[in-house]
Structures are given as structure tokens and as C-alpha cells.
């Protein structure tokens, strides 16, 4: 009698096994990864998911058991995210990233990259002129920690030694690692700062250029122009470019925020953000680790740590 009257109870009894099976599969998949599931189990998940989803619709319409509908809601949500969520494996992603995503993303931002490069060059030229004119300017462009005996009053010999002599630096590998992590931080910072309507990113580009220009001026004054140029070619090009690209990504976000065009501001920013994220994602690891700090970009805030 009772069984007949309470349809929702029968409804539950008939489908309960499927729900529990889906829950068990999801727990397995979430705990490790989708690879932990057998092919059969993997195929079962979407079927069970749709069955549970339809149970949820029915339960909402006919059952008054609150705990049941809540449970189904949470189960379906979990399954939904599993079925439609992040799917590609890390290895696949990285492969696709290098062969296709990253180059096309970088190409799409060529205008911003040119702007950032121009800013860096402008900074470098300005600092170069000023330091050539009056060596005292050097100290306004280069923070004390970076000088390492390479200031304007250093002798030609000492400067030459910083370029060619590697024996004086016992802690080279530590230094290289430190610079590697530091530079990656600066690149991420250049990217993140773009959100504040591009201004800080642009300033960072100029400051980076200034440091570079000031060092160049010192070396050229001592007649080491060719040497420092050659040294920069090897050590600095990839990393300078990486910082420029990160800055470009930041600028893109800032521009999307300030001038959304026809889209809504929010939509515009999130589109730019994803593209820019793609661009930035592997900038850090791309750069070779062994280099010295001439091209190391600095800001007041990031130089502190």
C-alpha cells in the first residue's frame, strides 16, 4: 500500500544504483586522473551523467525529498565538470602549445610587442645619452645592487673582467638560478601590471631600457662597445624579448579594459586575458639560465626581495 502511494520512493529505489556507481567512478577519476579509469568505465560516465541529470529533472518536478534533490544536484555538478571540464592531458597541452598556440598568440600581439620594444629602445637611448653626457646619471638609472663594480669609475680592466672572466664568480650557478627565477617573476609582474590600464607595464619597459642603456654607455665609454654587444647577443636577446612579450601581453589586457569596443568590458578583458595568458605561460622557462645581470630588468618593488 505504502509502496504504491509513495512514487518518489520507488523512483529512488530504481535509480539509486546508477547514482552510486557514478559517484564511485567520479571519486576514482578525481582522486587520480581519468587515466585511472578503464575504457569501459570511461564510456559509462557520460551515460550515467545524462541518466542522473534526467533523474534530477524528474526529482525536482515530482519528489519532495529535499536531501535527495540536493544530493542529485551536487552529483550532477561534479559529473558535469568532469564531462565538460578540463580534459586534455598536460603533455598534449604542452605539445600543442609549442607547435601552434604560442606562435600564433605571439603573432596576434605584434602591435603591442612593437610598442613595448619601442619603449625599451627609447628608454635605452635616453639613458645612454644622459650617461654619456654626465656619468653621475648612471646611479639614478641603475639600482645599487646591480652595479657589482661596473660603475662609471671602474677601470677598463675591471669591466673587461666582468665580461670575460668567469673564475671570479664562485657562485655562478646559484646566481644564474636566482636570476632565472627573478626574471621570470619580473615577466609575470609585467603581465599582471598591465591590468592597471597599461601604465605600469609601460613604465617597466622604459625602466628596463634605461638600465640597459646606462650599462651600455659605461662600457662604450671605456671602448668596450663591440665586446659588450657580442656578450649581450648571447645572453640578453632571448630574455629581453621575453620581457617585452610579457609586457605586450599586459598591455593587451590594459587596452582591452580601457577600450572594450563593441563587447562589454568584462567580456573584452577575459578574451584578452586568455590570449595573453597563453602568450605568457612559458616565457619564464624559455629563457636560458646562464647570464649576468646587465639586461636584468628592475623595478623598485621587485628588486626588493
Amino acid at each position: 500500500m505504502a509502496e504504491l502511494r509513495l512514487k518518489s520512493f520507488r523512483f529512488r529505489a530504481e535509480r539509486e544504483a546508477d547514482w552510486l556507481r557514478l559517484e564511485a567512478l567520479l571519486r576514482k577519476a578525481e582522486g587520480r586522473s581519468a587515466a585511472a579509469l578503464s575504457a569501459e568505465e570511461l564510456l559509462a560516465i557520460p551515460v550515467l551523467y545524462r541518466a542522473s541529470l534526467s533523474s534530477l529533472s524528474v526529482a525536482r518536478a515530482t519528489s519532495l525529498d529535499r536531501a535527495l534533490t540536493d544530493y542529485l544536484e551536487s552529483l550532477c555538478t561534479r559529473a558535469y565538470f568532469f564531462v565538460y571540464g578540463t580534459r586534455s592531458s598536460a603533455r598534449e597541452r604542452i605539445g600543442a602549445f609549442f607547435t601552434h598556440d604560442w606562435p600564433s598568440a605571439a603573432k596576434a600581439a605584434w602591435r603591442e610587442t612593437v610598442v613595448c620594444a619601442t619603449l625599451t629602445v627609447l628608454g635605452a637611448v635616453a639613458a645612454y645619452m644622459l650617461v654619456m653626457h654626465d656619468p653621475e646619471w648612471f646611479y639614478s638609472f641603475v639600482p645599487g645592487g646591480l652595479v657589482e663594480g661596473r660603475g662609471p669609475e671602474a677601470t677598463t680592466q675591471a669591466l673587461r673582467a666582468t665580461l670575460f672572466d668567469s673564475s671570479h664568480n664562485q657562485l655562478l650557478s646559484v646566481m644564474a638560478t636566482f636570476l632565472f627565477t627573478h626574471n621570470a617573476e619580473v615577466a609575470i609582474m609585467a603581465f599582471a601590471l598591465g591590468f592597471a590600464f597599461c601604465v605600469p607595464s609601460a613604465l617597466l619597459m622604459v625602466a628596463n631600457g634605461c638600465t640597459l642603456g646606462a650599462f651600455l654607455a659605461v662600457f662604450i665609454q671605456h671602448g668596450l662597445g663591440v665586446e659588450v654587444g657580442g656578450w649581450l647577443m648571447i645572453h640578453g636577446v632571448t630574455e629581453l624579448f621575453a620581457v617585452m612579450l610579457a609586457g605586450a601581453a599586459g598591455v593587451q589586457i590594459g587596452v582591452a579594459l580601457a577600450f572594450p569596443g563593441e563587447r562589454t568590458r568584462l567580456d573584452s578583458v577575459s578574451r584578452a586575458g586568455r590570449g595573453a595568458g597563453r602568450r605568457c605561460a612559458w616565457l619564464g622557462p624559455r629563457r636560458p639560465g646562464r647570464r649576468r645581470s646587465v639586461s636584468r630588468p628592475t623595478t623598485g618593488s621587485s628588486a626588493n626581495w
Binding site: 512514487k7 578525481e30 550532477c76 558535469y80 571540464g85 591590468f195 586575458g273 618593488s301 621587485s302
Partner: protein
């Protein structure tokens, strides 16, 4: 909300939950960092001060710190659960705002912005300087706090990173499938015979409150609720009747009545609903 056309009624995470999750993660990161540092110091002493091995240890420490700072959030959010341990503990996860897939780019972008929201303010806080620089620092902190408190000023509780990446953080609590309260009432059903008028006293809302009372099993609440319902429907208490059995039986009868009416298209929301 789903491609199948079923609304999952996702709820967004509260600012307080987000903050708690972040603090948990920060505590975990700090713990790992302390452990890493301790191991590094121990290894350096073990290796006997200077030399090539202490350099390697130093390199490992630096790389570890770098990975911890940048990769912790990204790697955890790339897993199928899309949540860091802190978020998991609070039943949260990251989801794409348009309901589509959560891509790796979005996860990177949302976490790169942490640089702006967490580490930049921290550097301003810890840096010490002369009087002029102090004012600059204060201005810097004020400027940064725009980003730090950004989630409090929009309805969707979006961080700057969420905004840029097109993501948000939703609640996905994990629930257990609980036994039906009605199940225990079937056996005792013969003892209670409610009239039509008696089961018509309440609606769906009251039914759900009753369900919760029965699940909690608190003797005092059950006694009070049973007294209330007896008074309302004019039920006289039998000699061996327990409060719980009465409520359970009434729950079953009420639910059967309401559900059968639901099948005919009449949903009675609460006791004031005359439908």
C-alpha cells in the same frame, strides 16, 4: 546551464569562503617553505659548509621557492577537480564563466594576477625606507588595496585574476546520499491513520522542515515539533506512541499526499498556499 538544458543552480562562493581557502593555501605554502628551508639548512650543514654540494642545495632551494610561489595554484587547478587543497577543504572549485571548458590559459592568467594581488602588496608592506619612501609605500599600499579588495566590490565576487581569465569560483559541496526518512515509517504505517483534513494542514516547505528535524534526531526538538503538530491537526496521543514514530508517520502521509497532488500539477508551497 548544461548543454542538456538542465539548470544546475550553481552557487557562487562567498568572499569569506574564498578568503578562508586562500589562507589555508597560504598556510600550506608557508609550511612547505619552512620544511624546505629546514631540509636545505640541514643538508648544507651535513655537506660541511661551502663547496659544490652546498651550491646545488642553494639552487634546489631557489627553484623550489620559485615553483611553490608560481606553480602551486596553477598545478592544482589543472587537475580534474580544479581546486587547490584550500578550495577543496571548503568545497569550492574554479569554473569558466561562460559554462564551457576551463582552459590552461585561463588558469595561468588568473594565477599570474596573484602577483598583483598578493605579492606586490606584500613587498610594499615589508619594505622599509626613509620618510619620503614611507609615504610612497603608503600610496603604493593604497593603490594595491584596490586589487586586494576587488572581490568585495562586485556581485560575482570576481578577483582581478578571475576577471582577466573569465573564470569564477563556485560551490560544489560533496553530499552523501542519505537514507530516505520515509523508509522507517512504512512498517509502522498501520498504527497511524490520518484523515484527509489532517494531511492537508501543511505544504512542501513544512514538509522539508520536518525532514530536517527527523534527520537531526534531537530529542527536545522532536518532542516540541510533535506537540505542535498534534495541536494543529487535533491528534490525540496514543498510549505507547513515541514522538519520533508519530512524526515519521506523519511525514510519510504528508509527503504521499503532497506528491500525489504534485503529479496532478498542484504544487503546494507552504501551509498558507490554498492551491
Amino acid at each position: 546551464m548544461t548543454p542538456e538544458g538542465v539548470d544546475l543552480r550553481l552557487r557562487l562562493a562567498e568572499a569569506s569562503e574564498r578568503a578562508a581557502a586562500f589562507l589555508l593555501d597560504a598556510a600550506i605554502m608557508a609550511g612547505i617553505l619552512v620544511a624546505l628551508t629546514a631540509v636545505a639548512i640541514g643538508a648544507t650543514i651535513g655537506a660541511g659548509g661551502k663547496g659544490a654540494s652546498s651550491q646545488i642545495i642553494m639552487v634546489i632551494w631557489l627553484l623550489g621557492f620559485f615553483l611553490l610561489r608560481n606553480a602551486y595554484f596553477i598545478l592544482f587547478e589543472l587537475t580534474p577537480r580544479a581546486a587547490t587543497p584550500g578550495k577543496r577543504a571548503l568545497g569550492l572549485r574554479v569554473a569558466a564563466r561562460n559554462g564551457g571548458r576551463l582552459t590552461a590559459d585561463a588558469i595561468f592568467a588568473r594565477n599570474a594576477m596573484r602577483e598583483l594581488e598578493v605579492f606586490l602588496p606584500l613587498t610594499f608592506l615589508v619594505s622599509r625606507a626613509g620618510p619620503v619612501d614611507t609615504w610612497l609605500n603608503l600610496l603604493g599600499i593604497a593603490w594595491c588595496s584596490i586589487f586586494v579588495f576587488f572581490p568585495l566590490f562586485n556581485r560575482d565576487r570576481l578577483r582581478v585574476g578571475d576577471l582577466v581569465a573569465g573564470t569564477w569560483v563556485v560551490k560544489t559541496p560533496q553530499r552523501k546520499l542519505m537514507a530516505d526518512v520515509a523508509e522507517t515509517a512504512f512498517a509502522a504505517q498501520g498504527d497511524f491513520d490520518f484523515t484527509q483534513a489532517q494531511v492537508d494542514a501543511y505544504g512542501a516547505k513544512e514538509l522539508q522542515v520536518l525532514e530536517e528535524v527527523l534527520r537531526r534526531m534531537e530529542a527536545r526538538t522532536i518532542a516540541a515539533v510533535a506537540e505542535r503538530i498534534r495541536g494543529k491537526i487535533g491528534w490525540t496521543r496514543g498510549p505507547i506512541e513515541s514522538d519520533y514514530a508519530f512524526l515519521d508517520a506523519y511525514y510519510l502521509a504528508l509527503r504521499a499526499r503532497l506528491e500525489s497532488r504534485l503529479l496532478f500539477g498542484r504544487r503546494r508551497r507552504d501551509k498558507y498556499d490554498k492551491a
